[in-house]
Amino acid sequence: MTSSPTLSPDPAADQAAAPPRRFDPLAFARKHRTILFLLLLIAVFGAVNERFLTIRNALNILSEVSIYGIIAVGMTYVILIGGIDVAVGSLLAFASLAAAYVVTTVVGPSPVSWLIALGISTLVGLAGGYVHGKAVTWLHVPAFIVTLGGMTVWRGATLILNDGGPISGFDAAYRWWGTGDILFVPAPIAVFILVAALGHVVLRYTRYGRQVYAVGGNAEAARLSGVNVDFIVTSVYAVIGALAGLSGFLLSARLGSAEAVAGAGYELRVIASVVIGGASLTGGSGGVGGTLLGALLIGVLSNGLVIMHVSSYFQQVVIGLIIVAAVAFDHYARTHKA
């Protein structure tokens, strides 16, 4: 209700507004308002500190964004079906610690330890997410409660797993996934781009993607149209779980250590990325493109403010205000004519 409709990168709405006519700068600005807001922010930071606009810094930002951005792609799906997942941070920690545990303690040195860890982390995440999905569809417990429960259960399990301590001692091939490059692009960024592209294509061009929108738009109508609603819901939670596991693997590779406290607070950052990107928490509207912009906005903000040497306390105030301003601007640009 009051969480007014936010549609920005909704494919359905956007195309309707664009009959092929000659270039209209205002319409262009309206359509790309979120990107423009982001560019404005980047320009401001760049003007204040020239270091901000370096490739190295851009890679810094993207590396940081990658970790939660990967999960945000999955969260786009979850929010599209009208669900929510607050367990992602805990599941990330559990999956990555489980993988690190197996690799360092059970398997021991091996040339493919990275592959084992990648596989285990993703599969553990997938399994955890599948359990969430089943609890939602089968026990009919609201997603918020299921994943809130999951949040404490996985965190507790993580702490039990290695008695609260971190696990480190990964080999170079493992670490490469966090610190290496693929053609000058740091590995986590490359994985992120891959996940985002795949997430976008599936949502936009496949039947599965259509069904995700349908379930979020009107679950009962979707069921009566032959959509296997329970399958869609369960699969979406399983996918975000797998992405949390993947992200956990990358984070542990980046830090050189899998920690029990990893990912704490990620849930809010990830959900914020999706909602800033224009998705509605009631489901049915949103898209991966918007989510990327939302995630980038958060990344640029926290990087830019540190580079500008804004004090930590003050940063929080500024970040909060700019996020609200960005969404208010988005609404204004969408509803007001020239």
């Binding site: 359905a12 039947r207 259509r210 069921r223 032959g226």
Partner: protein, 515 residues
């Protein structure tokens, strides 16, 4: 003496000019019919009267005073204008009584007096002859019952003008009669009524004056007594519409759908297993109409056949093979499709485009590897059904929520037809559809049957059931009480079965009345 005077009112939405310098005059104690095709602008005009929308230009005068276009809906209510909207405005989690008196609850010591609230509501419902429990939450009511609550709510306002936007679309004849009695009573007390309906026989029977709109413009107005139904149709549609009983295209084919002593596992509502041991057959190329009063169980049966609800006992056979249905998905795969009765709750994805709404169940054959959607083929499919059903829309990408109700209904029909099912169940297929479009829908159903599809039509409009059906099955309180030949059935005969379960000998040669 005029009570309401609308002049030169215009209203545009992005891309649509919904109203173009419209006028309307309503006298005191007059029942005024507002007529027009789907999308003519009737509901938009009504929303301007109730201040749900602000007009772009023009004046609305009530009781001789021009009204402030910036009024809130609450102020208009206080002035004495009550509105029953086409789309319901009820609060599903609140009880019937609370919905009726929201914001005007009786109080004691400053607090809501629940006892009196319940008593007042019960008294009014009794007066109106509506058998509803004032304490029941609205979410448990059927569409028809919800419509009754809307009517009762308007009555609590003591208004001088009551606007009813298609109040009978969801009602069956018994409830319609009751509503007409209510309106007659209002009229006797000097209250004016604006009445929107696509059922012209009703208009002819009980309205005093009419105003016709077409494409957002005023066309004509006058005394109902001076015109025939055909004249009204011509004014609305710009041509005359032939409304004929369907002629069977040939001998019926083999039995396609066979329902044998079916009883539902859990009734949709909290009543003890209402539908009981139902048997039914539909042949290829045959249209079977289901008649019954509101709550007779026709929708429940449709949902069972479609796999939307579970069966406790009995069986459903398709082409003489038993159907095991766990969900509508199984039914669709087997070739059974249904158009649900509540298009807003069960049919439409309101924010999504027409294209996405229409193609959803048919995507599989349009996709490579079953997943990769061929958008060109999809567009072609949507275009085919747009033409076939004459859907009025700006583009395939328009959100379906922006269409008029009738056009939404056509999109949903298109959704089902695009699947090319063996069995098609349509529940209230022309609810809220204008007369021209209704004839088109009947035509389309006939053509579909001619291709060998077995069709079940549920309609609360007897005339419609009689016009399209080869056979009519009558339900009463969850049991089949009659199975009649469509050509010899009469409205009186059907009514008798529906109300009492026993037929009355119908006078031979009785002509069928036009709609």
């Amino acid at each position: 003496m005029t009570l309401l005077n609308v002049s030169q009112v215009s209203k545009s939405f992005p891309g649509v000019r919904a109203l173009d310098r419209v006028r309307l005059e309503v006298g005191r104690g007059e029942v005024h019919a507002l007529l027009g095709e789907n999308g003519a602008g009737k509901s938009t005009l009504i929303k301007i009267l109730s201040a749900a929308h602000a007009p772009d230009e023009g004046v609305v005068a009530f009781d001789g005073q021009p009204l402030d276009p910036r009024d809130t809906p609450l102020r208009r209510q206080r002035l004495g204008i009550a509105t029953i909207y086409q789309e319901f405005n009820l609060f599903p989690e609140l009880s019937v009584a609370e919905n009726m008196y929201l914001g005007r609850e009786p109080k004691r010591l400053g607090l809501v007096d629940w006892r009196r609230l319940r008593a007042d509501a019960a008294a009014l419902l009794g007066e109106l002859g509506l058998p509803l429990d004032p304490g029941a939450p609205v979410s448990r009511l059927t569409v028809a019952e919800q419509q009754m609550v809307e009517i009762a709510k308007a009555m609590t306002l003591n208004a001088r003008l009551i606007i009813m936007d298609e109040p009978t679309a969801a009602l069956s004849s018994r409830e319609v009669d009751r509503l007409h009695a209510i309106i007659a009573d209002l009229k006797a007390r000097g209250v004016s009524v604006i009445y929107v309906s696509h059922r012209l026989a009703e208009v002819k029977a009980m309205c005093d004056r009419y105003t016709v709109m077409r494409d957002g413009r005023y066309v004509a107005s006058g005394d109902v007594a001076d015109v025939e139904i055909d004249d009204m149709v011509r004014l609305m549609v710009g041509r005359s519409v032939e409304f004929v009983r369907r002629a069977r295209s040939g001998p019926p084919g083999p039995v396609v759908l066979k329902v044998e002593t079916v009883t539902p596992k859990r009734p949709r509502l909290a009543a003890p297993g209402y539908l009981k041991d139902v048997c039914l057959e539909v042949r290829a190329g045959e249209i079977v109409g289901l008649a019954g009063l509101v709550g007779a169980g026709r929708t429940d049966l449709a949902r069972l056949i479609f796999g939307a609800d579970a069966i406790a006992s009995g069986s459903i056979r398709l082409d003489d093979k038993p159907l095991k249905l766990k969900s509508p998905r199984d039914a669709i795969r087997a070739g059974v499709m249904m158009v649900p009765e509540d298009r807003k709750q069960q049919g439409c994805f309101l924010d999504h485009s027409i294209r996405r709404n229409l193609s959803l169940p048919s995507l599989k054959p349009l996709s490579r590897l079953g997943q990769w959607i061929d958008e060109r083929a999809e567009r072609d499919l949507v275009e085919t059904y747009r033409q076939k059903l004459r859907v009025k829309m700006a583009s395939q990408e328009t959100p379906i929520g922006k269409l008029s109700g009738g056009n939404q209904q056509k999109v949903l029909l298109g959704r089902s037809m695009a699947l090319a099912p063996r069995v098609l169940i349509v529940d209230e297929p022309t609810r809220g559809i204008d007369i021209g479009a209704k004839a088109e829908v009947h035509q389309v159903l006939s053509e579909f049957a001619a291709q060998g599809v077995a069709i079940l039509v549920i309609s609360s409009e007897l005339a419609e059931v009689m016009a399209v059906s080869d056979r009519i099955v009558v339900f009463r309180e969850g049991v089949v009480v009659a199975d009649l030949d469509g050509e010899t059935a009469t409205e009186e005969g059907l009514m008798a079965y529906m109300a009492t379960g026993v037929g009355r000998a119908s006078p031979p040669g009785m002509e069928h009345r036009p709609l």
